[in-house]
Symmetry: C2
Amino acid sequence: MRHGAFGNATALACRECGHQVALGPHYACPECFGPLEIAYDFPAVTRAEIEAGPRNIWRYKALLPVPSDIEESPNMEPGFTRLLKAHNLGATLGIDNLWVKDDSTNPTNSFKDRVVACALSAAREFGSTVFACPSTGNLANAVAAAGARAGIKTVVFIPSDLEQPKQVNSAVYTDSLVAVNGNYDDVNRLASEIAGEEEGWAFVNVNVRPYYAEGSKTLGYEIAEQLGWRLPDQIVIPVASGSQLTKVHKAFQELISLGLVEDKPYKVYGAQATGCSPVSVAYKAGVDAIRPVKPATIAKSLAIGNPADGVYVLDICRETGGSVEDITDEEVRAAIVLLARTEGIFTETAGGTTVGVLKKLVESGALDPTLETVVINTGHGLKTLDAVAGSVGPAATIDPSYAAFTRTEIV
Amino acid sequence: MRHGAFGNATALACRECGHQVALGPHYACPECFGPLEIAYDFPAVTRAEIEAGPRNIWRYKALLPVPSDIEESPNMEPGFTRLLKAHNLGATLGIDNLWVKDDSTNPTNSFKDRVVACALSAAREFGSTVFACPSTGNLANAVAAAGARAGIKTVVFIPSDLEQPKQVNSAVYTDSLVAVNGNYDDVNRLASEIAGEEEGWAFVNVNVRPYYAEGSKTLGYEIAEQLGWRLPDQIVIPVASGSQLTKVHKAFQELISLGLVEDKPYKVYGAQATGCSPVSVAYKAGVDAIRPVKPATIAKSLAIGNPADGVYVLDICRETGGSVEDITDEEVRAAIVLLARTEGIFTETAGGTTVGVLKKLVESGALDPTLETVVINTGHGLKTLDAVAGSVGPAATIDPSYAAFTRTEIV
């Protein structure tokens, strides 16, 4: 490893017991098996330094476990996606001041480009020879694309019954797509086994997960910077493993500690689909333990039945005065169409879940419609086209004549 | 119309005879029926003024037919997409200094968001009540999305036999998608008829076409700014109607006139698919007239058999010392995979055509591999997934065990 290979990161620290180990391709605490997180010793960082940086996540490199020359290495240059004022959606839902953070415009059209870019940097610094992941969708696309651009051997494992469009969307980037006869859990288990047996493999969401997960912090940094270095009052975030929500909260806390934004209260809300809502169920039951479920929802990118960071999500939502809510697949579909028709943003099922939960939170009174609110759109609807294929279509079919047109009641 | 509704634009001028008419929803010269273009009286414009602007096409508003408060009106905020250094693709093709201008990361994943944003501004200033287009793909997505965000009634006309995924990708944004029993030419004719008969309809690519087309200039402005206010030596651009190529050239000329970049020679190359290559055929035959063809290619977004700006493309490519070239559908498919596996960019068939033509130009010696070269990627591969579905897939299918994995020869 080069000197400064991980920037201002100093160690891996256990989230449960605080035990620290040296930076390396590790993810579980040797003392208590708790999850390892990156610990830092941040220098003074100014807004001006960040604003002078590149228009991607590397503007925040001082706050990530990456070297100071990170932007010189070929990478996908993700991030600094749009924060759009959602006038129409806000008016429809009765929210005065609503923003959509739109990560569907990332290079491979989901927020996964952020985390994969950080994992790639770690893999490079560890001298890994293979960049890999188990995945069913967005992560596979992001890993295969980033590996191609970085010129590192990339192997992506998917369930063999994955829909062909999703296979194509990964296979186009890599000649090493491996289909596994089994479900996602089987693929995941195989990945952990390979990570344990093989030298030099960096599985982004297994053995380099602590580095990978830090990438989600950039969503929080960007929202604050794009609001004019200010935290929103309320934020709604989808919950799969729960990592993204915890990292956005971590980002906000870091910005406060560093004096980059004013300290103020903000509420964090988690969004799940009812068909895979173990965190929402625990929240509503008022308990601390998450009971794993077998997912059954169209929001497949959120379908993690045993979310690793679920308990931390509960803590954050409760501490900040937010909540966790879930909606049905029918509500997910309706929310996808609602966002498209109000703001011209076509979101995937995960984004539909988040927008739909926002709607439900306003209706139930759990979210204050007079406060500044941000909702995160994590990915693009082109990846989950089937979800709405039955819901939308032509309003009329006519013969190619003006007379036929005038008989429609389109306008 | 408000005072300053069209910024520094002063009139519509005929590209053929120079006759000028007042700014309005017109597209054909009343004297000779030639195409009308926007004429301007530009003030002094500085790099600093542009750099202080928003990170989208409106940073160039002084050079577009839009009001000075354009960014206040709800719009998709397209543009300022990535200009990526293509190390790997360059090395593969033997080009020393290659860049990809990646418009697949625009809001609806194609360059059409640029032109539609300018058309929308014109429609707003004309007081149009309906925003419309005939289209089979990218344009339909861009119009439907922009209309939704702007809160203007939007009607999109498509051939009724269009593939369902493409229908869904437009219908998600609008409840006024109209399927027409006929081919694209029939749909187009119907659109022109409606534009002539109905009051208040702005058809982006018909009666507000002069405003719409100016949006493509922003591709040229951005490339120059992102290169550090410098023109490239060579640029390869896809040719459908030919409008984009002529507008990028116009943008470069304007930047030179305004003193924003140094005057220097550059070569412009046009890219077509062999199955619809009327401009390439004319170029190679050394003639000035374009003979219309019946398109038969997988590059459907380039499949315009009678390109309106074809003759201007010939002029520009000849004058600058570039050329026009075409490649087969098989070469288009191979180029899509080549770009994905070298740079992590998944392009649509139009981009495959452009990259494939770049490869052919290097191989034939028509393009100098030692000069700085830019290739434009106009849209996203998720929109034309079928094009490569037969070409890529899993390298292996295995049982979910480490033993099975070790028997593969993936690494």
